[in-house]
Point group: C2
Chain length 154, copies 2
DNA sequence: TATTGTTATACTCTATAACTATA
DNA sequence: TATAGTTATAGAGTATAACAATA
């Protein structure tokens, strides 16, 4: 890229930086909105997935959520401490823990959704419903999972 | 929101969470791509703004970049240590520092842009040019600046 | 020996408040 | 007293490696 091109570029012309910035702000907003119950976006996503897919092993959760094992441990510790989810050993393979959302977890999830609705209203208030859906579709197609592409280069 | 609606919702139906997640990944990717020179998205944005707007006070940079004063200090410390930018006192008001990008900074900016291009190619590789521009326009309209709306509620 | 989950640790980013120096 | 910049610190997120228990 030439010096002229660089100097002509507006700061937020770089979509990667724009996404990084807006995403970080979104994360902070979500955390504040959930603040009352003391957890963050990770906790919300985990609860949602448990509600959606039912009881499952931590390994499955790790893959579904795309988080590091050590991250999931701390999230589950928090959820369990607050009685929103429970771990129990799998009798068939005592290495595994089956994670299940509790009734209290389902109640908390309702409040989580309400908080998210509020955050989204703030973030996306300048877009109409059509634009929001379009943004959603485009964002869904951004590649954020570790790449398993064939090595075409490098 | 009813229990039925919640259980029907797919995890990533919540645009706020999707944005938060993708944005965090983008930030990590940017940091890794810039890793060779040892700085992150903040440093890139700061350099870009200095290239774009020329020498300016830290106060102006703080507003332009939307960062906390203490954040800017550490970013400028890093840039200055590596000789990419310089602070000098404003003779007219010795409280102020004027920040200016160096020649080395301009050179580094070229590499920053190349790294960003690579990151964006990975993130947005499944979108065509038209979709990328559309995503850019939509993301630009997401409200991430502190709200100064009239208090219509709460 | 491999796998599941846990612990410990280090690094980055964000945010707040207290501080120095100038005005 | 107000403003520009700095320092110190706390909190959240990410990432890695070492570890215990079980298979």
């Amino acid at each position: 890229m030439s010096v002229e091109e660089i100097q002509a570029a507006q700061t937020m012309d770089r979509l990667g930086l724009l996404l990084a910035h807006h995403g970080t702000v979104a994360q902070v907003r979500v955390r504040h909105a959930l603040g009352v119950t003391g957890f963050g976006a990770r906790h919300a996503v985990t609860l949602m997935h448990l509600a959606e897919s039912g009881p499952m092993g931590q390994q499955a959760l790790i893959e579904a959520l795309g988080v590091d094992p050590s991250v999931l441990v701390t999230v589950l510790n928090d959820l369990e401490r607050d009685g929103l989810a429970e771990r129990r050993r799998d009798p068939a393979d005592r290495r595994r823990h089956i994670v299940e959302m509790t009734e209290a977890g389902a109640g908390a999830l309702t409040r989580v959704h309400d908080a998210l609705t509020e955050v989204e209203r703030e973030l996306f208030g300048d877009l109409d419903q059509d634009e929001i859906e379009h943004l959603h579709r485009l964002l869904s197609r951004v590649r954020t999972t570790p790449e398993e592409q064939a090595c075409t280069e490098e």
